[in-house]
Subunit: 256 residues, 2 copies
């Protein structure tokens, strides 16, 4: 495997950690550094992760970290892959629908567990070992389904994007609750800034009280609904495929 041509931030994920040869025993390890960084990110958010804070938590100096990581950017890449790989992806060989539902839910859960993942700047397309395992699992959930492989990829991406988006929304809402004394909840915010004349549909939505619940995001209901919608669309697609009707381009045609 020729590592040389990989984007430089990916190299660290595949570089063999060669055994200790000369010099003092390393006191730390890449895993230790990344672990400390993740703990900080979980607690204080991505903004709280600085080289000095990570080093302090480990009891070493800032510069020592650079023996394990070439730059902070690289550290972020490894953090992201490590957090992604915490739980093994889900494959259900019997039902593609149950498999994909669980698979998507796990991605959502990962983003909820590590909200900072949503803010890690993606410096390259997904190609870390953990991310590949997730892609692979997603595709395997569709293994027994008769669909062009390209469509399967699209479905996987679609579901991943959905999980990510819902996690973003869910994170935002729960981050709004704490300072409820000084700051209004989402419902109240919208009531303040919307106007029946310019935002009729929105106002109807706000009036329905959807945004005023004690917990603003109910995973089972909110997450499940969109998921069902997507999977239903996928099921339709599979059916059409089985009948030999392939529609490759956008659904701009009415087709209601």
């Amino acid at each position: 495997m020729d590592i040389g041509r990989l984007p430089k931030n990916l190299v660290v994920l595949y570089e063999p950690r060669d055994a200790h040869r000369r010099g003092p025993r390393p006191a730390l390890s890449l895993a230790a550094v990344v672990g400390a960084a993740i703990e900080i990110a979980d607690a204080d958010g991505l903004a709280g992760v600085s080289m000095s804070k990570v080093a302090e938590r480990l009891g070493y100096t800032t510069m020592s970290l650079y023996r394990y990581v070439k730059s902070k950017d690289e550290l972020l890449v490894v953090m992201a892959d490590a957090a992604t790989g915490e739980h093994p992806p889900v494959v259900n060989a019997e039902s593609w629908r149950a498999g994909l539902a669980a698979w998507t839910g796990s991605i959502f859960a990962t983003y909820r567990r590590h909200p900072w993942l949503l803010q890690v700047p993606m410096s390259a397309p997904p190609a870390g070992p953990s991310q590949l395992l997730w892609m692979e699992a997603g595709l395997q959930n569709l293994a027994r389904v008769d669909l062009p492989i390209g469509h399967k990829l699209q479905i996987i991406q679609l579901l991943h994007g959905y999980a990510r988006g819902e996690a973003q929304m869910s994170t935002d809402l729960s981050s709004l609750a704490p300072d409820a004394a000084t700051t209004a909840g989402y419902g109240e915010i919208l009531r303040t800034v919307t106007n029946p004349a310019t935002h009729p549909a929105l106002c109807e939505l706000v009036a329905s009280g959807i945004f005023d619940g004690p917990t603003d995001y109910d995973e089972d209901v909110d997450f499940g609904f969109g998921l069902t919608t997507i999977l239903t669309g996928v099921a339709q697609l599979i059916e059409h495929q089985a009948r030999g009707l392939v529609r490759g381009t956008a659904g701009v045609s009415t087709g209601e």
Copy 2:
């Protein structure tokens, strides 16, 4: 409208820009500052946006910007809303499907035009004027459809998340092309790091050559496919609703 209880980063978006009363005429304006910042972000990415760079581009000192913006975070919030509001959202009163397809495509286009939007840390749920207009337009595309308002919101969120995810992928792929001499394309990367034993489905995908095209992301095909899938799911949902069959919870049940 009581602005006081809004999250502090949102205040700037609704604060009336009161007319000039005393003191020297302001040489700049919030719009000018935001415009310069957006130009830099478009050219150099979000990382290139620093208070000093923005000030330099305008020909003023760094600190002068703080007369128009309370903090850099606030600047980012205004930038995001300004970029979002560049083009008015699409409403098609005749066909919800055509309307939502165009609406989603416009969101995708916005993210492609300003890729840094994907990296702006969301400090609050969407509540800027432009974002509300987009939500409103999305809901209005579903105005003539008989669905609980909560479901309509979910559909809007679903489509927005999809557009965002696809834009992310598309941006990643096109950012990989330039340094093709030193760095491999996505297809080649995957060929390097995957293994038929551990990634059978992925390898099949890579072998199909999907990732090797000159342009890695074909908007019409790639974007249109997932969109069609979602909209088909939505159409199904509407049909079920019309028949009085409402399924609220996740599609973990087989239902193949």
